[in-house]
């Protein structure tokens, strides 16, 4: 038996989490270093997956399969396609930056504060989330996926509720109240989604007799498993609802601004750049493969919701006064693009959507982490409390601007490639929707540049006049992300090469072909 690479990649951070939690309280720094080391080792394993994966090979590779709950037909089945590989790589890549950026976020508070901040716990929880996210990307057994899809809520809940920003304008008490509100809201939304999905998972089992994604998809494709139209639709909706909460799709999005606003910046990145991606990923992997007909049936409604998310999220971002809430609404707009790309059901749309997941992860991490550094210096999340920062901290301002430019999908940076692919992929099938979505690019410029203008330009505000520029640790966090944004903007081929074959298979699952151009101007 070959080395179980996929299992190892998920188990390593899990073990790391336990080990980090076990470090004695006095040796705080050792716990941090351990967590960082584990995340780097996990990255090494993820890179191994990337290298071992053959884009032109079979659909699912590096597969592992073991009986688990035999009576119930639950198997421990793992396997990755190009889409999963890309997202595992993203997750493993972002983790060291998240840990490094949050280096001091869980340090004990000043003496006199009643709050207890378990440093080890913070980093253990982050690694725990990483483990569960990775296995969610790997699982090809529906039940196995479901378990970790739900289980990751627990560490996330504690990360949001237990660790907030240091300073708060209304004092510690109010901050704590708001934090637990956000954490519980996050939990309830996602639990409701999960519960509905559970019903659908069980329903699927009743219909199909097992949980294996590959088996069911195959049986559906060759006609041996027939599903009544209504059954398929209900099951689809059950799955989709859970993923739409997680993604999040309008109108199920309101938990995200609360959650991102109250958590520390690295945790906010963890939510939007990593955890939420499981939702959009699962739409591609489970909704389309298991319920191809229902997916097509629901497409018009989903496209409209995605379009609303794009425009609505962007307009709300314009209206925010809180930096982190602004980024949260921008993310809602971006998730709209991802879902639009998935359900446009074209090669460009779905490859674009997958690429979008990766690029959004990196660009949001860059923007949000720099925002976090900014907020930690001034102790306020309010845009109005800043002004003229570029004069006192030019490097911080410069990196913030680059993060912002990535968010508005400036050509030359990675998000442009994915956003344009999604737009073009949508436009080829639904021109009107494609055109309306294009308005999103104007609004993105508006919220990003307004944010930059209000915080970074103008006369230097008294309170920021002594603000230090980025420190070495912070620069180590931001610089590689920026390099990556530029690299993938100029040369995205390594990612598209991995993703394209997987998208091709997914499209053939739903029996969709790309629309042909009117004129064959390019010789085949």
């Amino acid at each position: 038996m070959s080395f179980p690479l996929l299992t190892a990649t998920a188990v390593l951070p899990a073990i790391g989490a336990v080990a980090t939690a076990a470090v004695p309280a006095a040796r705080r720094t050792a716990a941090k270093s351990l967590a960082l080391l584990v995340s780097l080792a996990t990255l090494a394993l993820a890179i191994t997956i990337l290298v071992r994966f053959d884009p032109d090979g079979g659909r699912y590779q590096l597969t592992e399969s073991h009986a688990w709950i035999a009576d119930f037909g639950v198997r421990y089945e793992l396997g990755v396609d190009g889409i999963a590989v890309a997202l595992i790589a993203l997750t493993a890549l972002l983790m060291p930056f998240i840990i490094l950026a949050g280096w001091h976020d869980a340090d004990p508070l000043e003496t006199g504060s009643k709050r207890w901040r378990p440093t080890q716990g913070f980093f253990a929880l982050i690694l725990g989330v990483e483990a569960m996210v990775i296995i969610s990307f790997e699982a090809t057994d529906v039940f196995l996926f479901y378990i970790f899809f739900e289980a990751m809520l627990i560490p996330m809940y504690f990360l949001i509720g237990g660790f907030g920003d240091r300073a708060h304008e209304h004092g510690e008490e109010a901050a704590s109240t708001q934090r637990s509100y956000a954490a519980v809201k996050f939990l309830l939304y996602n639990l409701v989604g999960g519960l509905i999905m559970l019903a659908a998972v069980i329903g699927l089992y009743v219909v199909a007799g097992n949980f294996s994604l590959q088996e069911i998809a195959q049986a559906r494709a060759n006609g041996s498993l027939h599903m009544a139209t209504n059954t398929e639709r209900w099951l689809f909706l059950g799955f989709f609802f859970a993923f739409a909460v997680k993604a999040p799709l309008w109108p199920l999005h309101t938990w995200l601004p609360n959650a991102m606003q109250e958590s520390t910046a690295p945790v906010a990145v963890l939510i939007t750049a990593v955890v939420d991606k499981v939702g959009t990923f699962a739409m591609l992997r489970f909704c389309l493969q298991l319920f191809p007909e229902a997916s097509k049936w629901a497409t018009p409604a989903i496209l409209v919701l995605a379009l609303i998310s794009i425009i609505y999220g962007a307009l709300l971002a314009v209206g925010q006064r809180d930096i982190k809430r602004l980024v949260a609404y921008a993310s809602i707009s971006h998730f709209g693009f991802i879902i639009l790309g998935i359900f446009a059901m074209t090669s460009q749309g779905q490859s674009g959507a997958t690429l979008y997941m990766v690029n959004h992860g990196i660009s949001t991490a860059a923007l949000m982490l720099v925002a976090g550094f900014l907020i930690s210096r001034r102790g306020s999340r309010l845009i109005a409390d800043y002004g003229g920062v570029q004069k006192v901290a030019p490097v911080l301002a410069g990196t913030f601007l680059i993060g912002g430019l990535a968010t508005l999908s400036l050509p030359g940076l990675a998000p442009f490639v994915s956003e344009f692919l999604v737009l073009v992929g949508t436009f080829t099938r639904y021109p009107a929707i494609g055109i309306i979505a294009t308005f999103g690019i104007v609004l993105a410029a508006l919220y990003t540049l307004v944010l930059y203008q209000r915080t970074m330009t103008g006369p230097v505000k008294q309170e920021v006049s002594a603000m230090p520029d980025l420190r070495a640790r912070e620069l180590v966090v931001v610089a590689p992300l920026i390099v990556l944004l530029i690299f993938l903007g100029v040369y995205p081929k390594p990612v598209t090469d991995i993703v394209n074959p997987a998208v091709k298979s997914t499209l053939s699952d739903v029996h969709k072909k790309d629309p042909k151009p009117e004129v064959e101007a390019v010789a085949k």
Binding site: D71, E150, S180, Y181, V184, L188, L191, V192, L198, A199, I202, V206, P251, L252, T254, L315, L316, V318, Q320, S347, S351, G352, G388, Q390, K391, L405, L410, P411, G412, F416, V417, F420, L421, L423, V424, F427, T428, P431, T438, I441, V442, A445, L446, Q453, T457, G458, P459, V490, P492, K493, T496, D514, P515, K516, P517, E518, V519, E520, A521, V522
Partner: protein, 648 residues
């Protein structure tokens, strides 16, 4: 040879990277790194040009394929450069004028503490602009297109601590983004129509699709061009863009970037030729803008804003010419090049005047400066003669051809467009004479008055060294600034004649753009005569108003039109009321809706489904946590129950 093309872009790109990432240790030499790399790009351009001249017209296209950029099934975007006569013309203009302006900036920005970054941004601009004109497909062009937008944003807002500069920068980017939407949609339309957006395949298959599609593509490209080239209705950002340092206004907002829209239209000539409705729209935009800009230019007292109005108007001429189709393409580009010389020269002259006048920009506080700044006066004067179309100078040749071509369009349209172009020539002569007289002639209105009130403290570097209250001591600028002005003045004088003798420029560009002679209802001599008459009328009126009478140092109230023109013909007021205020209301109500309605309804539904109405408010007190636990418990029970059922 084609391997050199990438170096054109790489040299300034390297400069930008080094200067922006290099840190403070490069502060002392940054300006020279930037200037040398801009010059290097120019030298490479000249080498390629010499090589191109050595070949016959059919073999002048060089293609350099670098790498496959975005490959997704049939969507194939490559990083491929195309150097042909059209892009060659732009390469020489961009790198030539660009290098001169780098040199000028060495003097102009001497005392700015962020000078290194300024040169980094200038280099970034050159790289993006070269990418724009060298790209072999529309998506790569888009990268350059937004790249120059970014550079423009950074440079307009270079003095970011001034709120007005930061606002102007943001406005420019946003208005341009509206245009970019047009470019995006045009590319998407091309992809669905032709399956590609590479120049060659698209242009050669234009005939195989319907006119409706081509008209749509043409109109979207026009929208893009309106944004970048400050054409009505997307012109409002250009006046504000004068917040940037003056060399930036000269390079980006006069000579090069703002002409990108003209490039786009001429480059897409094959599409427009097959879409007469789109062409008509282009000519209308051009004609309206050439009058709009000229009228605005008449009313401005700020020397840079008067020149900005003029830029808008001159680009209007180019767009008009580009809309005329093969009759006009060559002349659109020819005017673009000569305009690049004289308008860059005029802006550098304006910068030189400001440099010597404590950064005063109000022409009502100038006067009689010819004695104190002879070089500036002469070079500016030559640029002035060139732009109004004084016989024998550059503008005379290029503008005359456009007016002729407009009449040659034929029919009523021809008369209207030609008439507008003639009228524009008269107004141009008026406002430029006004600038000339107010600045260099008449009383010395700057005597005994402080040039700047403290609250309007300028950020232009000279001010920081002279103190803002002092009476200015006009003086000539250093050589590093005057030499570029002299070079540009030479181009302004001789460029037009050089291009026109033996129809050199026409023969050079014709293989790319095609050319046709229209049948003008008026003879060439009549048009030239008419233009001369208009010129004399314009100059005459300006002389009567500003030469014969003293210029009041506070602007008189003026007529309704003057007042409207001072406010850019009320376009900003319209934008403010409709877009800004309307948008604010919209976002504010949406924030409310999201918080109360969407959040409320979703929470409420969840609560009532769970039978939890009223208890949701107690979320924080641990109740919800137990609810969560019970949900997990419920899930477990469900699973167990199913297991059991199966077992039974």
């Amino acid at each position: 040879m084609e391997n050199l093309i990438a170096l054109l872009v790489a040299a300034p790109l390297l400069g930008a990277a080094v200067l922006l990432c290099g840190g403070r240790r490069l502060d002392a030499v940054g300006q020279w790194i930037g200037t040398v790399l801009a010059g290097a790009s120019f030298v490479i351009g000249v080498v390629l040009f010499a090589d191109m001249l050595g070949k016959d017209a059919e073999h002048r296209i060089l293609i350099q394929h670098l790498w496959t950029w975005i490959p997704v099934e049939s969507f194939q975007a490559d990083v491929t450069f195309r150097l042909d006569q059209l892009s060659m013309t732009f390469v020489l203009l961009i790198t030539g004028v660009g290098s001169l302006i780098h040199l000028y900036s060495v003097g102009y920005m001497e005392h700015d503490e962020r000078r290194r970054r300024f040169f980094g941004y200038l280099n970034l601009f050159l790289a993006a602009m070269l990418l724009l004109v060298l790209a072999d497909n529309y998506l790569l062009l888009y990268v350059g297109w937004e790249g120059v937008g970014l550079a423009s944003y950074l440079l307009i807002g270079f003095w970011q601590h001034k709120p007005s500069a930061a606002t102007a920068a943001k406005k420019a980017f946003l208005v341009n983004r509206v245009g970019d939407m047009g470019l995006s949609i045009a590319i998407m339309l091309m992809f669905t129509t032709f399956g590609t957006f590479a120049f060659g395949p698209v242009f050669s298959h234009v005939g195989e699709t319907g006119e409706g599609k081509l008209t749509a593509i043409g109109l979207m490209l026009l929208l893009a061009a309106c944004g970048k080239s400050a054409q009505v209705p997307l012109q409002s950002w250009l006046g504000d863009a004068m917040e940037g340092p003056t060399p930036v206004s000269a390079l980006i907002h006069a000579a090069t970037m703002v002409t990108a829209g003209v490039y786009l239209i001429v480059r897409s000539g094959a599409i427009f030729n097959a879409a007469p409705d789109a062409q008509l729209a282009v000519t209308v935009v051009g004609a309206v803008t050439l009058l709009f800009g000229a009228i605005v230019g008449c009313a401005k007292d700020d020397i840079k804003k008067a020149l900005a109005g003029s830029t808008m108007s001159q680009i209007g001429y180019m767009v008009l010419a580009a809309g005329l189709g093969p009759i006009g393409y060559v002349f659109a580009i020819m005017h673009l090049v000569t305009h690049g010389f004289f308008k860059a020269g005029l802006f550098l002259g304006a910068g030189s005047v400001m440099h010597g006048m404590n950064d005063e920009v109000d022409m009502r506080k100038y006067g009689g400066l010819r004695k104190y700044m002879p070089v500036t006066f002469i070079t500016f004067g030559l640029g002035y003669l060139a732009i109004i179309g004084f016989p024998g100078l550059s503008g005379f040749f290029s503008k005359d051809k456009i007016i002729e071509a407009a009449f040659a369009k034929g029919g009523t349209e021809g008369w209207i467009l030609g008439g507008a172009a003639l009228l524009g020539a008269a107004i141009t002569a008026f406002y430029m004479t006004r600038v000339m007289l107010m600045t260099f002639f008449g009383e010395e209105r700057w005597r005994n008055q402080p040039t700047r009130s403290p609250e309007a403290a300028s950020a232009e570097p000279a001010a920081e060294h002279h103190g803002e209250h002092a009476e200015p001591h006009p003086h000539e600028s250093p050589k590093v600034m005057t030499i570029p002005m002299i070079v540009l003045a030479v181009g302004s004088v001789f460029g037009g004649a050089f291009f026109s003798i033996g129809d050199r420029f026409l023969h050079w560009l014709e293989p790319i753009t095609g050319h046709s002679e229209g049948n003008s209802p008026l003879s060439a001599a009549t048009v030239t005569g008419g233009t001369m008459v208009c010129l004399l009328i314009g100059v005459g009126i300006a002389y009567a108003m500003y030469g014969r009478r003293p210029v009041p140092s506070v602007a008189p109230r003026g007529s309704l039109l003057t007042r409207a023109a001072r406010r850019d013909l009320l376009q900003d007021d319209f934008n403010h009321v409709v877009l800004v205020r309307g948008g604010e209301h919209l976002t504010r109500s949406l924030v409310y809706v999201d918080h109360t309605l969407v959040d409320g309804v979703v929470n409420g539904t969840a609560a009532s489904v769970g039978g939890l109405s009223g208890r949701m408010r107690k979320l924080q007190n641990g109740f919800a946590r137990s609810y969560a636990v019970s949900m997990f418990g419920g899930a477990a029970i469900l699973v167990a129950a199913t297991l059991l059922m199966r077992a039974v």
